[in-house]
Amino acid sequence: MNAALNFGRLAFFSYRAASWSDPLSYGANVIIRPLCIMLLFAMTARVSLGTAVAESFVIGSACFAIPWVIRGGLLSGFEEERWAGTMPVHITSTGGRLLPFLSRGILHAPNALVAITCSIAGAVLFLDYSVVGLNWLLAGVALLCMVASVTGLCLALGTFCIVLRNSIFIGNTAMVFFLTLSGGYIPREDLPGVARAVSGVVPMAHGFEALRAAFRGEGFAGNWTHLGAEAAIAVACTAIGYTLFRVLERVAARSGRYDLT
């Protein structure tokens, strides 16, 4: 019970620190930005490549709200803990490490889902986008897997934010991989050889396959592989992130600083 309570508290504090309680900050990041980016790319695709690609871009743009929202909340949290000097509290604590580490990402996930919903609603409202025939359950599971894998990757990148103190650069670099390799905009089969191979382990790539199948009205049959792969990437990223965080913690405890050099 205590562990659950602490987990909830930690998740809440981590969430509150990310300025989500500011109405403009929340509205800008969770509603306005995802909606406008969807409009920008879907309109660009519609006028230059046709309706089919535009519909694919609607899904891609809507889902890129996931890394935007989660990396904004998580990565800056890691960096600011170093700036604000609260990181030593973790390191000197006698409590467990895994739950506080995992708790950082939990409350950002619902924001990502709100952002996606706003984007899709905007596409229906402004671009006559149709969700008729959507397999809601498959779409929901695919989105949850994508949220988990992006959260895992951001947790893994968090350690780099503590060391390098530049969450914006690290987050933007991660976004380049998401935007170009995950298949949200550029179909994975159009990528050159090496990039296509790498895209298989980029978070969201398999989720996009399952999500597009859901929008085509397909069921779970034939999509378990994609969902399983996305979930496996989520687990692997989280495990790598936790390992990196523990290594940094040991280095910091031994040397008295967070820098690895």
Partner: protein, 258 residues
Amino acid sequence: MSYLRVFRMAFVMEWKEMLSMDGIMFSFVSTLGTGIITAWILSNAPAGEARDHIYFGTPFLAIWVQGMSRTGLVLQREVWQGTLELMVPSRSPLFVVMASRAVAIATAGLPPAALILGIIYAATGYVPAIASAGLFAVGCGVALVAVVATSLLFSPLIFIYAQKSAVLNAVWPVGAALGGFLYAPERLPAGLEVLARLLPTSWAIEALVGAARGTESGASLALVWAIALTAVIGMVMLTAWLFVVAERRIRVTGMLAR
């Protein structure tokens, strides 16, 4: 004369900040994704006005996004470092300082814009023909001025609002979607087209594409440029007034940000 000196010094200061490794990496990494996606779109799009619009508008979109992001980021960092307060008791008007910094940031946005064109060329080999180099050069100048003026309009708001990143994240996507960078405003749904027409960038980019393709006469381009520049002048005057209001509010309340 003293305002010119203020303008020059603020420009130099911002320019040096932009030339730091941090500034350069931020600029290039931020535009890399957009460049690759645009290259893919252009490699699949049929020849025509829509494709040319994307080609000519993407660099200005990059400058717009860079300008907004950098302005917010720079001011946020100044708050953290406690140097923003120094600007308030100074005799130099905030408007002059911020205008200079906006120009510096936009100028520093040119290399990332060139990077995007480089990515497009490497991926597609596509370089549209320019019908009239002179009109095209004027079009580029007007588009750049429109981008700077539009980004400057939101500086007073970024200046006085505590969550600076919130303001810029609320503004730049709207400008990107409605600023006419990647498609003509008339392609937007009816209600949104009206909003897009309020932004000088939508007129300026439209004229730029027309000048490059040679589909518009000199007189009709001049008219569109006149509309864009009138909107720019209006925006600059409004920005100057907003800065005076912000400055007064800060001096009276003693609070830099709310």
